[in-house]
């Protein structure tokens, strides 16, 4: 019962703040609503028995990525020009497409059987298992990520550097 209460509260906050992020005018407010959503996602990870991922989620998403976002928002300072209104037809088309997507996804989820099954192991996956899987089964993707990060780092520096003539 406690889990259900927790789940419902987290879902309501997550979806509500995601909606607030979508309708917000000020990019800083949007970023803060998104941070709240990320917190709720970290909460989901906790209830799903992945406390390590919850901590990493907070460190990486709220601690690094969103701070980077705030940094850029402050540099770009888009407040001085209000975002032009999106044409109503455009908005309608976008919402329709999203609604279709939602219907498809919900349909896919509900028609599959067996997803409501309770896991046999209440302890879930231990951190040790994750680490072992990461360094044996998924060794190549793991190493490729480091290459990806390196490339991203170089790319970011090249792109954001001021041209020196």
């Amino acid at each position: 019962m406690t889990e259900w209460i927790l789940f419902v509260v987290l879902s309501v906050i997550a979806i509500g703040s995601a909606v607030m992020m979508l309708v917000g005018r000020n990019p800083v407010h949007c970023a803060l609503w998104l941070v709240l959503t990320f917190f709720c996602v970290a909460g989901f990870f906790l209830t799903l028995g992945a406390p390590f991922l919850a901590a990493v989620q907070i460190i990486v998403y709220t601690g690094a990525i969103m701070i980077l976002f705030l940094f850029v928002v402050m540099l770009v300072n888009p407040e001085r020009e209000g975002e032009p209104a999106v044409p109503a037809s455009h908005r309608r088309a976008g919402l329709t497409l999203a609604a279709v997507l939602l219907v498809v996804m919900v349909g896919a989820i509900t028609t599959r059987s067996g997803l409501g099954a309770i896991p046999t192991e209440p302890g879930g996956v231990t951190l040790r298992q994750v680490g072992t899987a990461l360094l044996t089964e998924w060794m190549l993707p793991f190493e490729l990520t480091s290459v990806l990060l390196l490339v991203a780092m170089i790319g970011a520096i090249v792109l954001a550097r001021r041209r020196i003539e």
Binding site: L32, A55, L127
Partner: protein, 336 residues
Amino acid sequence: MEYVVMAAKAVVVFALVSGSMPFIVWAERKVMADAQARIGPNRVGPFGILQSFADALKLIFKEDVVPTGIDKRIFYLAPILSIIPALITFAVVPYGGPDLKLFGYPVGYVADLKDVGILYVFAVTTLGVYGIVLAGWASNNKYSLMGALRSSAQMISYEILLGLSIMGVVIGSGSLSLVEIVQAQATPYFGVIPGIWLFAQPLGFLIFLIASLAEANRVPFDLPEAESELVAGFHTEYSSFKFAMFFMAEYINLLTLSGVITTLFLGGWLGPGVDRFPILGVLYFSVKTVALVYFFIWLRATLPRLRYDQLMRFAWKVMLPAALINIFITAYWVAR
């Protein structure tokens, strides 16, 4: 019942941490005064020990100035975002061993997060940046914004060092849990030298110490509020109780970081005779933490503030390679 005990512990730790903050401020003012051949506060109470309470009273009753053109909601949110992480970090710091029992319940720590432990400390200290960044942005003041931008860059840089420098300890202890990290320091080296990580990880300790100074915005890394250049940095526009909250957060962070360093590198509650009398552990922990706080104050009395480019260069070109070298050495030593 278990939850009641946990809540009671949380309340006690919360009260102790926030209650010791006025005395840290007082100690800082006294030690700084000593170092500068002054007397320091000596009017309110014996040796001026109640000075912080008088200051708090004054701050609460002062006029709350709200500048024009600000983002009001965020302006009010920022001090709260700054103080909450400062207060909740201490929850995982073990101030006594698991043997320390009161009425049959272990009371050595509020929570021992097995798979998270030290990551919780990082996750929470990261959130402290939000208070500073948002305060600077919401104030509608260019100095505040400069302070905020500086602090976000500084904190992101030094957070990486914070994480990398404890990897040695984590690899050596084989656990992320702070309780287990302390327990891993129980066996002495060669039977005589205390087995604390300070001796096995001197480089890691040094990097963690410096990075935590930067993370707490302490001198010599107090760039976000560099008085001489940025008026008061991110809290220029804050007054009254909102300023007091930033102030409290700063000193509680100092205490928390001292506690974390004690746990990670100085053996936490460990000390002679602690296995026979577990209550001694609390004493050892407090003594080590207070000594570290004193050291930080002493550092503040000594060192000048770094320039911004020096700060960044130091982080990325000196500390980062050193931290990586430390990880390699430790990994080699463990895998050997």
